[in-house]
Every structure is written in structure tokens, then in C-alpha cells.
């Protein structure tokens, strides 16, 4: 089986350590992945801003780049959701249909593999399942639909020794990032983010974990502006044995 | 062209392809402790519930100071004067719904459509045998498609509002209390 790695544009440029961790975690589980250099972006930033037409060049590049692989793994629920759900705006060639079906989010993919080496992570962990992973990909049960969220991210965290997931007042409220929303409506976006962080702090979280670096980029920006430390980590980094 | 025709034509032009009409549930079975559950639900929605065969004592004990009392228990029309200044109205309920504490009251039982609403306090008397589990069962039992009363209402609890800072206030414009007397078989 050929597996390709899709690294979201902002992770490639701003969080290379997350991409490297993704590579290492997959390697540790015996999966050899290729990172095709022709890739850029899935197209979501433009499309969510109302410019689907401007997203097509990126989307077509995505299809061309990845059509030859059996599986395309990406450490981002949001980008995977975009590929699966919004590539419906492209003509549905067999290649397009293939990449829509074959693109999977990292934590979901990891659950199909044998477990990696045991990892100690003695921290109180605040979990943030990105909304597109949660309600878009249905990776967990949203609080609107049921009381027990479950999901890939929590399942992976449960394999860590010493990690304790903190309970929150609002288990899955949006962090306020929302792509261009973060700059279209900075006041509301930041308010949502600081409310989110406050919930985690109130319950003693020592580190904020997500499968989506975009949410974490926003939350980290607010944490650092607040001047009170609360490290953020992508799940790939933790599974790679890194510590906050 | 009349607006009526214009609207109907536009709807006909723009309506989507036919979609099937789903079948409806017939309603859940009545739980064995239906009376207790119903009473608990009446209390939860802000009402009071008493299970007793002695209706008049129950009412007197709860509302000893009511002066102008209108009882519609005999089903006669309301002819007793002004609708304002009524302390207590007593009406027979036709059907109680366990899941939400609602009681169906048909126009024929009210005497006047306004009576359950203008009164300061309302008493609904319901037979314990007239309970259904849920709203599907209620509509199935009422059969409103066959015998439509001119007016009927599900009443669940007293008049209430939460329009000021979400604080629950019992007794908005309508009755300040609702007592449900459930008479055992």
C-alpha cells in the first residue's frame, strides 16, 4: 500500500516540527510514507472565504499530486474535511473521487495501525477536538448529540501512561479560529479563544492537545498574549515522545 | 392576478420533486408507574399534583381563600358574568401526557375559551385512566382529524415567563398556579 503524507500549508511553513513528528510516528508504526513535493494546499482558505473559484487551482494540484497513492494521511481534521466534503465542487472524475475517499486524518489512521511504543506523559491534558474533525468528520460524538464524546483523539490519549484528560464545562465549544473568521471578526474570535482557554485553565489543564494545528495556532497566540504559560501540542508530537 | 393565485403558482413552479410523507409513531406503551410519573412531570413544569378521589376537599385545602370560584365540571356553558376577577376555575381535563405533564382541554369542557387563562388559579381534574405516554399517543387517542373541536389546548403547568434575565417567574399574564387533581380509578 502506498501512503502519501499531506502536510497543510501553514504546518509546512510554521510548524515543521509537527510534520516531522507525524513522519516519525508513522515510521515507528512501520508505515513508510512519501511526501510529494508538488503539494501546496487543499484550497480551504479561499473557499471558506467565499472564493471557491480561487481554490480550484490548489484543489486540482492536490488531486494531481495524490491521485496515485492508496492512502493520503494528513495531520489536520479540517483539511481532510475540506477534501472529503468540498471537493464536490470539482468535476467528479475517478481521480477526484479517489482522493476524496482516500484522504484520512492522522489520528483515525493511527487507530488502524498496531500500537506504537509505550509513552509516558504525566500531565493533565486539555483536549480540543477541532470542530471539523468533530462535527464534520464525526470523529467523536458532539455534545449536542450525546454525553460521551469518545473519538480517535481521546482513544490515542488513553494509551499514554500518566496522562489525565480534564473534564471541561463546555466539552467541545469552538475555539473561535474559523479560518478567515479569525481576521474577519477578531474581537469575537479572540473572545471565543480566551473563553476556551479559561475553561481549560479552570480545570487544571497543563497542556492543550489537538489534532488541528490551526486551532492551536490561534489558542497559542492568545495564551502568549495573556503572558501566562499553557503549552499547546499536536497529538503527533505527544505520540512522538515529546514533552511540553 | 390575485395574490392567492400568484403565490400558489410560484410555489407550484418552485417546489422540489415529490418527497414521501413519513409514517408516524403510534406512541410508546404506558409505563406501569404512569400516574406517579405524570404527577412528577406536572410538578417539574411548575404545577401541583394531587392524587385523590376527594376532589372538593383537595381544592378547598389548597385554595381556602378563593372567593369567586367557577366550576365547569358539569360541562355547562359559562354564563356567570365577567371574565375578570375570577379567583379559581375548575375544569375537567380530557387526557394527560406522561412525558410532559400536558393536559388536553377541549372547548366543550371549558364553558368559555378564555376561562383557563383569565383565572387567577386553575384546577384541572383528570382521571388516572386518561393518561397516555407521549404526544403521539395523545394525538392518536384524541383523533382530532375526525372530530375537531373549535378550540383545544394542551396545558402544561401555570403561566410562566423567563423574559427578564432568564429568571423563571410563575404567573405571567395567566394563572399564577395550576393544580392537577388526579382521580384514581
Amino acid at each position: 500500500m502506498s501512503v502519501a503524507l499531506f502536510i497543510p500549508c501553514y504546518v509546512d511553513q510554521l510548524y515543521p516540527q509537527v510534520a516531522r513528528a507525524t513522519l516519525a510516528v508513522l515510521a515507528a508504526r512501520g508505515v513508510t510514507v512519501e511526501y510529494p513535493l508538488a503539494q501546496t494546499c487543499c484550497g480551504q482558505p479561499m473557499a471558506n472565504a467565499g472564493c471557491e473559484g480561487d481554490a480550484h487551482a490548489a484543489a486540482r494540484r492536490f488531486v494531481r499530486t495524490f491521485a496515485g497513492y492508496d492512502t493520503i494521511v494528513a495531520p489536520s481534521g479540517s483539511c481532510v474535511h475540506y477534501v472529503r466534503h468540498h471537493f464536490d465542487a470539482l468535476p467528479q472524475t475517478s481521480q477526484v473521487q479517489h482522493v476524496r475517499n482516500a484522504t484520512v486524518e492522522l489520528s483515525e489512521f493511527l487507530l488502524t495501525l498496531p500500537e506504537g511504543p509505550p509513552i509516558d506523559f504525566p500531565y493533565r491534558v486539555g483536549v480540543h477536538v477541532g470542530c471539523h474533525a468533530l462535527r464534520g468528520l464525526r470523529q467523536a460524538v458532539s455534545s449536542e448529540l450525546g454525553p460521551t464524546p469518545g473519538g480517535a483523539l481521546r482513544t490515542l490519549l488513553a494509551t499514554l501512561r500518566g496522562a489525565e484528560v480534564v473534564a471541561l464545562d463546555r466539552p467541545d465549544e469552538c475555539c473561535g479560529f474559523g479560518g478567515t473568521f479569525a481576521v474577519d471578526e477578531p474581537a469575537i474570535s479572540a473572545r471565543m479563544g480566551s473563553d476556551r482557554i479559561a475553561d481549560h485553565r479552570r480545570h487544571g489543564a497543563q497542556v492543550l492537545v489537538s489534532g488541528d494545528m490551526s486551532c492551536l495556532m490561534h489558542l497559542d497566540g492568545i495564551v502568549r498574549r495573556q503572558g501566562a504559560p499553557l503549552p499547546v501540542m499536536h497529538i503527533a508530537q505527544i505520540l512522538n515522545g515529546e514533552r511540553p | 392576478m390575485s395574490s392567492r393565485q400568484e403565490i400558489l403558482d410560484a410555489v407550484r413552479r418552485n417546489r422540489p420533486d415529490a418527497r414521501p410523507l413519513p409514517d408516524l409513531p403510534t406512541g410508546a406503551a404506558l409505563p406501569h408507574d404512569a400516574v406517579e410519573r405524570f404527577a412528577a412531570m406536572v410538578r417539574e413544569v411548575g404545577g401541583e399534583a394531587v392524587i385523590t378521589g376527594d376532589v372538593s376537599t383537595a381544592i378547598h385545602n389548597r385554595y381556602p381563600e378563593a372567593r369567586r370560584v367557577i366550576s365547569m365540571m358539569d360541562g355547562a356553558p359559562f354564563t356567570a358574568g365577567s371574565l375578570d376577577g375570577i379567583d379559581l376555575v375548575i375544569i375537567r381535563g380530557e387526557l394527560g401526557v406522561v412525558e410532559n405533564g400536558a393536559i388536553w382541554v377541549a372547548e366543550s369542557a371549558m364553558g368559555h375559551r378564555a376561562l383557563p387563562f383569565v383565572t387567577m388559579h386553575l384546577v384541572l381534574v383528570l382521571r388516572a385512566t386518561d393518561l397516555v405516554a407521549d404526544m403521539h399517543g395523545a394525538y392518536a387517542a384524541l383523533g382530532l382529524e375526525r372530530r375537531t373541536p373549535g378550540f383545544g389546548v394542551f396545558i402544561s403547568g401555570p403561566s410562566k415567563t423567563a423574559d427578564i434575565e432568564r429568571a423563571l417567574v410563575i404567573g405571567a399574564q395567566g394563572p399564577r398556579s395550576l393544580m392537577v387533581v388526579i382521580t384514581p380509578p
Binding site: A58, R135, G178 | -
Partner: protein, 453 residues
């Protein structure tokens, strides 16, 4: 014209009020979660409701005719209004025919949409909104900020100040119970003294020609059973085929709206009270046009429970007035663009697309998907802000080419490293957040350097 971001920011500047507003509505959302979990078949009910509405819309003309036929047989006078103006003229005409000058109204978002109150007042009619929340915003000369809790944006002290002015209560009074009690007398007087009563319609039943009106205060019933004329105004989309369909919708409505198992009063009005008149005004006002938009028509299934407002993290922190439309919140953001796309162009973007609205919707409207589609309509109509439009075109070009992408990525990282703090804080991102710390090397640079690429 004020856009959502501007109005939202103005609302959020009062941090204390925003926190209260957010918390109050979250409380309702949490209550909704709790009561829906008591119904094991909740998800099946939502599917059923969605199916009934989809069917009804697919045969809406036939059900409208059936509804009218049955209503006429019940002795109801049926009127049809193509738009808001005609609706307002019809209501005024009914009142003038009977010499009615004092009208009491229970809550009706349709009459808000038609701006009925100012129209009637300009024609000499005294209008009293009899729902307490509606009365509060009426006295405050405001529009409702929520479709179920019209005065949710107001603090109790502000209500106290209004009531001191209008009802003579102490200016310091801010106890909700005593304030509600102070309004009870004047409202009951208005209800007992009205010449006519107007209500909205929660559901019209084609099979019986009757309507259902749901309230908690009993104000709709007090109005219509006391006044000699009852006018019920109904949008064409409010129909259900069978009376038993109400079993589905009444189970969903209040649980979704306020977390109650059912409203205190669910009134089924079929015939006029003897003696008395009953008028139905059936209103289109853009609905039939919306029915003709295949991508957007499912929004017509909305039963106006307000659950999507309560759960929306943006609505909770920006307040209903920030939407600048009769229906605020997520559902307003997908209905209003259909009425006036240019005016409401910022609304589909007043969302993070978190999807919570779709998960609480009792009739399963895919609101996030509709928001996404409206964004494309705004883009295609050339209604995006020029700067955003240009940015996206450039960005689209950058991502279309590997070389461009790599070059721009390097430049962006350099810029992030050298931008001075004061300048960063003047960007939309940096105003509220620190910029990411840019690494020297991108992942792909590392990948190639380490000989893997």
C-alpha cells in the same frame, strides 16, 4: 451600513454583558441537551420532522389549498399576502372594517419581518405586544434580539429603568419576579380592553384547517379569547399535513427552544369563537422564491425554535442585534441573504462553521453547509470586501504553483521574524493574538535537506 463584525465588536466591548449573555444562552443550550437525552428516540424524531417538512414543501401548493379549503369550511376568513406591504394593508383593513383601534399582539416573527407595528401605529392603531419580552423591547423602542427570548440582551436593571418610566415602579427595582408582576397588571388591562388580537402561527394543519400557537405566558390565548377579532398571520412554510404530525413537532419544539418538555400552552384554534371573527393571513414575502433555490430551500423547514442561536458561539458573544436582520443567529444568516444578499453579505461569514447549529436543529437543516454555500454566492456576486477578494485571488495563484508557494512561504516566514511588535499589533490577527513564531526552515526544506525528497 453596519456589518456584522462592526456591530459584534461594539456589543463585545462590554465584556461583562457579553459574558452574561454567553452564559445565559449556554445555560439554555445545556438544558436542551439534558431534556433531549431523556428522549431515547430524539435523533429519529429529528429525522422524522425533517422528512415531514421536506414532503410538505414538495407539495406545498396542494397543502395550502387544502388548508384554505378546510379553514373556509370552519368559518375562517382567509387572506393571501404576496409581500410585507400587502400583509400590513390586509391587517389594517380588517381592523378598520370593525373600527378596531386597540390591538394586542402575541409574539410573531413574521410581523416583525413585515414591520407591522410601525405601519399600524402610523395609521392610528395602538399596538401592545403582550409577550413580556416583546413588551420590554417595544417599550425600549428596539427590535427583538432573539426569536424566542426577545429581550435576552437586556439586563434586569435596564428593564427596571424602563418599567420605572412606564409602569411607575421604583427606579431601583431589579427583581425579575417583582418586575414581571408589575407588568402583569398593565398587560392584562390591555388584553381585556383590546378590540382585536393578533398572533403568529407555529403550525398550520392542512388536514383540519386549524392553527397551533405555542406560548408560556398564556398571552396569546388571553388576547384571542377575549377580543372579538383574532388575526393569525402565517408564513406559507408553516404547514404540516396531518394533525398527528404535531405529535412530532411539539415534542421537538420546546425541548429545542428552552429545554422545556412542552410550552405551557399549545393552543389549537380551528373555528372562530362565537361570537367573533377569525382571520388567517397567509404570507409569502419571498418564501416561494426561496423554495425555488434548490441549494437553500431546506431552510424553509425552520420551526423557529432558536436552538441554533443559543448554541452559536458567535451569536452568544455578539448579540442578536449585530445581525441587522429580523431573524438573527445562524438561521437568520442563511435566510436573510435570500431576501437581500447585498445588505446581508457579511452574515454568512459571521460563523466559524463549527457546525453546532446543525447538530441542535430539530428539523436537521444543514446550516453550516448553507452558510458555506451562501459564502460562495456572496463571492460570485462580487460582494466581498475588495481587500479580501484580492487576497484570495493572490492566494489562489500562490497555491496553484509549487514555486510560488515555496517562495511566498519563505518570504512570509522572514516577514514574521522581522515584523516589529507594534506593527504586528496593528494587524487583524495581532490585535488580539501573538503571531506564530516562524521557523527558519519549512518542513519541505528539511525534508529535502535530509535527503528524503
Amino acid at each position: 451600513m453596519t456589518t456584522h463584525p462592526e456591530a459584534a465588536e461594539a456589543f463585545a466591548q462590554d465584556a461583562e454583558r457579553t459574558a452574561w449573555h454567553d452564559q445565559a444562552l449556554w445555560f439554555v443550550r445545556a438544558k436542551r441537551d439534558q431534556v433531549t437525552r431523556a428522549i431515547p428516540e430524539w435523533e429519529a424524531l429529528r429525522t422524522l420532522a425533517s422528512g415531514i417538512k421536506a414532503h410538505t414543501l414538495s407539495r406545498l401548493d396542494e397543502y395550502l389549498e387544502q388548508f384554505e379549503r378546510n379553514a373556509l369550511a370552519n368559518g375562517v376568513v382567509v387572506h393571501w399576502a404576496a409581500d410585507a406591504d400587502e400583509h400590513n394593508r390586509i391587517v389594517l383593513g380588517i381592523l378598520r372594517d370593525r373600527g378596531a383601534t386597540r390591538l394586542v399582539k402575541s409574539k410573531s416573527m413574521l410581523t416583525e419581518e413585515c414591520h407591522l407595528n410601525p405601519y399600524l401605529e402610523a395609521h392610528g392603531i395602538t399596538v401592545v405586544d403582550s409577550d413580556l419580552g416583546e413588551r420590554i423591547v417595544q417599550l425600549g423602542r428596539e427590535a427583538p434580539s432573539h426569536i424566542v427570548m426577545p429581550a435576552i440582551h437586556k439586563r434586569k436593571a435596564e428593564v427596571g429603568a424602563l418599567f420605572a418610566e412606564h409602569f411607575g415602579t421604583s427606579p431601583d427595582e431589579d427583581d425579575p419576579g417583582r418586575l414581571a408582576d408589575a407588568a402583569r397588571g398593565p398587560l392584562r388591562s390591555a388584553l381585556f380592553g383590546a378590540d382585536a388580537a393578533l398572533t403568529g402561527v407555529n403550525f398550520g394543519v392542512a388536514e383540519t384547517g386549524g392553527i397551533v400557537v405555542c406560548t408560556n405566558e398564556g398571552n396569546a390565548d388571553l388576547g384571542v379569547h377575549l377580543a372579538p377579532i383574532h388575526i393569525a398571520c402565517m408564513g406559507i412554510e408553516k404547514l404540516v399535513p396531518r394533525v398527528a404530525d404535531l405529535g412530532v413537532f411539539l415534542r421537538l419544539l420546546a425541548r429545542s427552544a428552552t429545554g422545556q418538555p412542552i410550552t405551557a400552552y399549545s393552543s389549537h384554534v380551528v373555528t372562530p369563537r362565537a361570537p367573533g371573527q377569525l382571520h388567517f393571513v397567509i404570507v409569502d414575502n419571498g418564501r416561494s422564491e426561496h423554495l425555488g433555490r434548490p441549494e437553500f430551500r431546506e431552510a424553509l423547514a425552520c420551526i423557529r425554535c432558536g436552538a441554533c442561536l443559543n448554541t452559536c458561539p458567535v451569536y452568544r458573544r455578539s448579540g442578536g442585534h449585530s445581525y441587522g436582520s429580523t431573524i438573527p443567529g445562524p438561521i437568520g444568516a442563511i435566510l436573510s441573504p435570500g431576501v437581500d444578499l447585498a445588505k446581508h453579505a457579511s452574515l454568512p461569514f459571521a460563523s466559524t462553521l463549527c457546525g453546532s447549529c446543525g447538530d441542535v436543529c430539530p428539523v436537521k437543516i444543514d446550516i453550516p453547509q448553507q452558510l458555506y454555500r451562501w459564502r460562495q454566492m456572496v463571492g460570485r456576486a462580487g460582494l466581498l470586501p475588495a481587500k479580501k477578494r484580492l487576497t484570495m485571488t493572490l492566494l489562489g495563484g500562490v497555491f496553484g504553483s509549487r514555486a510560488w508557494y515555496e517562495w511566498c512561504g519563505r518570504m512570509a516566514r522572514v516577514a514574521l521574524r522581522v515584523v516589529p511588535g507594534w506593527l504586528a499589533r496593528r494587524t487583524a490577527w495581532g490585535r488580539e493574538r501573538e503571531l506564530p513564531v516562524a521557523p527558519k526552515e519549512s518542513f519541505r526544506e528539511w525534508y529535502q535537506r535530509s535527503g528524503r525528497g
